[in-house]
């Protein structure tokens, strides 16, 4: 247990040391979201109907980019070997790492999303659904992403390969999450979508830590 707590604490402290970087996922999120109006034109009605999709695609890409920092550094500086050799439970340690990563890279997005929703003039009911969908969906993205990062960690140029592995896994989350917001925006009930997201979260949280641990042992050979 002390090991797990130390892990969480270390990663949060590392994030704090690099606190300049804390802003970056958020900025990326905002930047990508604001590319769209530039690219597709700025008519308010159209933007409003696109908003759930744009915000979620931006969140998904931010999550994807943030993955790079999850195990890559630990592998490069040899810390990963030390983790693998720790006598504690690897899946618990890895769970702590993913939690720290989510707190640092995804939570700020969730907090910022309402602002984007205002910029895109999303109706108020849809806004709260957007936040809930992000709260349920982004941890799934982090967990699924971690499995793929672990698999590619020893490869020299994992960037694109990682993307390729991860994006298909992200698709169900994207569909249900963006769907929930879009349903809410037209006034219907998003409950079904959100339940599905919640189910995905429970599933991912219970199963992936073991997958991540196994993948790390393979990837770090």
């Amino acid at each position: 247990m002390t090991a797990v707590r130390a892990m969480l604490q270390r990663d949060l402290r590392l994030a704090w040391r690099r606190r300049g970087d804390l802003l970056l996922p958020v900025l990326f999120f905002v930047l990508v979201a604001s590319l769209f109006p530039l690219a597709v034109g700025a008519e308010p009605q159209r933007l409003q109907s696109l908003a759930p999709g744009i915000v979620w695609v931006a969140a998904l890409l931010a999550a994807l980019l943030a993955l790079e920092t999850l195990f890559r550094d630990d592998f490069a500086d040899g810390s990963l070997d030390q983790l693998l050799l720790s006598p504690g439970s690897l899946s618990a340690l890895v769970g702590a790492k993913v939690l720290a990563h989510w707190l640092v890279s995804a939570l700020p997005l969730v907090l910022l999303a309402p602002l984007l929703a205002v910029l895109f003039r999303l109706p108020d009911e849809a806004m709260s659904v957007l936040v809930v969908s992000l709260l349920l969906g982004t941890p799934v993205l982090s967990l699924l992403g971690a499995v793929c990062v672990a698999l590619t960690v020893g490869l020299r140029r994992g960037g694109f390969l990682l993307t390729l592995l991860v994006l298909p896994l992200y698709v169900p989350v994207l569909i249900f999450a963006a769907g929930s917001v879009a349903t809410a925006a037209v006034g219907a009930s998003p409950a079904a979508h959100l339940y599905f997201l919640a189910a995905l979260l429970v599933l991912a949280a219970t199963l992936t830590p073991f997958a991540i641990a196994a993948a790390l042992r393979i990837g770090a050979e």
Partner: protein, 248 residues
Amino acid sequence: MFAGNALASLLAPPRFYRFSGVVLPWLSVLCAALFALGLYSGLVLAPPDYQQGDSYRIMFVHVPAAWLSMFAYLILAGAGFMALVWRIKLAEAVAAGVAPIGASFTLLALVTGALWGKPMWGAWWVWDARLTAELILLFLYLGYIGLQSAIADTRQAARAGAVLALVGVVNIPIIHYSVIWWSTLHQGPTVSKLDAPSIHASMLAPLLLMSAAFLLVFVIALLLRTRAELLARERRSAWVQALLEGAP
């Protein structure tokens, strides 16, 4: 190289430090006076607008802030150029000093614009070309600041920032001409049209006064920040040591 050396000795940090120390109090007095005049004529003397009522008065903050946000970027790029080519230390300090000020004015322009937009266009924000360009300007500043904080060595950071600022300067004309190139919701050039400003003199005068006052705020902030940067960068040099010993 020769021009560089001459310039470098003219802009030697101790000389600048002394000079700026002398002018700062005078500038502050002038700035306060301009603000008093500008606010009085803008809030009291100028008549309400026939369309916008009183809400247009936010212009007296919005327009100077927007202008200065762009002006600051030009200074950033100019100082960067001098730092890169002639390695002038003062220019490095100016560049490091002006970036956060520029970012603040950009933020001010965005916020006042949004406040003005709500009554005018019925929305805090529209994805209009000029508004987006101004947002991008904010990101340019943030990128510059991020790069500075990521590089530990200050001189290396200054030169790296200079390259970035010079490349980013392309965006300034795009912001300025965005209203002309695309049909936008945002006001076209009203004041800055050279031939005849399409704005009434009773509104133009306070705008110009406020602009001058804001310009002075900008200059004062820049001098203060540059002085602080210089002290930090030169803390081991003889003149700073002498200064410190002179102080009680």
